[in-house]
Symmetry: C2
Subunit: 234 residues, 2 copies
Amino acid sequence: MNLFYAKPEHIHRPLLQLEGGEADHALKVLRYRKGDEIHVTDGEGIHYTAQITETGKGHLIAEITEERSAAEHKPKVIILIGLIRKRDRLEYAVEKCVELGADRILLFRGDHSEKQNVRMDRIEATVLSAMKQSLRLTLPDCQLYQNLSDALKASGKGKLIMADETADDQQQKITESPSNEAFRLIVGPEGGFSRQERDLLDQAGAAAYSLGLNRLRTETAAAVMVDRFTRTQR
Amino acid sequence: MNLFYAKPEHIHRPLLQLEGGEADHALKVLRYRKGDEIHVTDGEGIHYTAQITETGKGHLIAEITEERSAAEHKPKVIILIGLIRKRDRLEYAVEKCVELGADRILLFRGDHSEKQNVRMDRIEATVLSAMKQSLRLTLPDCQLYQNLSDALKASGKGKLIMADETADDQQQKITESPSNEAFRLIVGPEGGFSRQERDLLDQAGAAAYSLGLNRLRTETAAAVMVDRFTRTQR
């Protein structure tokens, strides 16, 4: 099944509209035609089945025949990821977090991040593509922050849990106490956290969480954290 | 910490030897010198601390000062992965399986695999690099098989568990019944399994296992499967 994305403002019941790249992909690559059935999400939890009624250059209009809502998982899973040097690994981290169900992704420039610039347009395209690929109905928000402190402030409320190689494995029980509070997961860049960042995390009450015996790359740690914390709650 | 690899036949207590790329990496890239301490694994579960006594073109000799064994996790986790089209995603799948603790990786040409050829030298380099990066002390074996049937035969004994989108979430309890039998995990290629492959898996008694609500890419499913099944056992 192919899932398309239409912004909420392009849903005008009983019609919906695909624009730009989404319309082109449907018409030029997948060769959808008038009368065909398509599946569309608004990225806010709704899945529309619709029948194409009109096509044109860069746009497609379809009539909604069915709509259903996704069951949301609670608590929310928010992940903060320190920038990593290699672009493909950063994009991979974001892609996996979306596939595995993260609700929000906050990238931050860590004190030990070697990379300082990120093409957020590419990251946004990765998020959108991963949402569609994984048939998720919610589009996670993904933003870049100047530093850990800003990302922490922007992350809102909820239990703070930090991936930490040195943590005791017994901490695993954190995932086993479901509540409706969000989980805010934190994964540092390759170089780990600076002393200042550690102090900041301590002050914020972050709990250290072990991911196992092996030293994991940032993108691996991010994927596994999201999987573990979304999974226990579904 | 940097971890190096020496084949077991290059360990001659009290000396050990690094060869080729390993020696070059130590000497040319990381600029280790005579007298420096290095960390080496034989890929069979032993970690050596050693002091460099001799260096030369493409080789390095060191005297072992300490040796310790890794705690092995039981049961073993073996993963069978259908070939996926994109090389980077296949290498990523292998890398993540190694990082997360898979004991053996069996790649197979699925009936729906678009890709038929794999540069196994690159895959082996990925395995070695991921072992060192993650500070694992065991080098997982990774081989390519002509088809699922051959891979199944080569995988030996143990509980067969197949990632399956359509499986009931309740199957999750599979991970909660530890025994000393190996887990043989199976992840299909992008196109899924053919009817014949499904029959083969049924006959072999493979249990269907759900990875959650979202449709996961092969490399994501592989990583998450390995994490879940190694984790419960450590």
